[in-house]
Amino acid sequence: MARVVVDVMPKPEILDPQGQAVANALPRLGFTGIADVRQGKHFELEVDDSVDDETLAKIAEGFLSNPVVEDFVVRRLPA
């Protein structure tokens, strides 16, 4: 079994109202010095050792993210 992480983020040119809402709220809560916030999704998968990187990329690109508006990164975590 391996642990795999996939992070999916809105593309830089896409408006991210969730991240924006966080960024705008922080100064009101007294936290300064945060210039920008973007919010995406974080997936943690338990995968069989038989699942190769190519398959993981397919899952991330074709399913976990929408290539029209999102980018993704796949990472295998050390066991």
Partner: protein, 222 residues
């Protein structure tokens, strides 16, 4: 004339879409997500709801359903398809319409009676409207902000493929106030507002939405 209405797990407005089809004078045929079979229908409605809870992304899981493979195949043959709300999201995920629908700019679910302008009448679903007609149809969604690359938006606008546009306050931050678009041939239309909830003044704010369903009768019979 037989119009199919697809039910996925989590579809909510299938009974309403079927009612609208009947009000328009056609036969509503129930289509099941798990069956790769369109039962010989003349047109298909992909109704609203939260298929698979919209948990990954609106429409992301539903588009892989066996019935959608048949829809994609039939669209190549010119089958008229209408995607409403979650149905619009599914059509975008399936690549039948360009772009994507993201979380509303206000980050809340929004349910309101929405004024729209019918921008294009040369589609299978809007032939019965006067060009430029202003209609009132409910909008209700969490992820209704239409987004696409600028080049795609330019193309849609240039080819006159924006079918419906929000009038008054934009409810979700859609680019160009876009409420609905069509495929290049005008056979596939997707929109966020719910015409099936505007088929009589008893249960909706108007009867304006019924015209989408009567329009398709004309386009198929023509």
């Amino acid at each position: 004339m037989r119009i199919g209405v697809i039910t996925f797990p989590g579809t909510l407005d299938d009974a309403d879409a079927a009612r609208a089809v009947r009000y328009a004078g056609a036969e509503a045929v129930a289509l099941w997500h798990g069956d790769a079979d369109l039962r010989g229908v003349d047109a298909v409605v992909v109704p609203g709801g939260f298929s698979y809870g919209d948990y990954l992304r609106a429409g992301a899981i539903a588009r892989f359903a066996p019935v959608m493979g048949e829809v994609v195949r039939a669209v190549r043959g010119g089958l008229p398809v209408l995607g409403i709300c979650n149905g619009f999201q599914i059509l975008c995920e399936a690549g039948l319409l360009p772009g994507a629908l993201l979380r509303n700019a206000g980050l809340h679910f929004v349910c309101r009676d929405q004024r729209l302008r019918v921008e294009r009448t040369s589609t299978a679903w809007t032939g019965g409207f006067e060009a430029g007609a202003e209609i009132v149809v409910p909008v209700k969604n969490m992820d209704g902000r239409y987004t696409a690359e600028q080049s795609t938006v330019d193309e849609l606008e240039g080819e006159g493929r924006v079918v419906f546009r929000y009038l008054g306050a934009n409810p979700n931050g859609s680019l160009g106030d876009i409420a609905g678009i069509s495929s290049a041939d005008g056979r596939v239309v997707g929109l966020m507002p719910h015409p099936e909830h505007a088929i009589d003044e008893l249960t909706g704010p108007s009867a304006d939405g019924l015209r989408l369903f009567t329009s398709v009768l004309g386009s198929v019979l023509a």
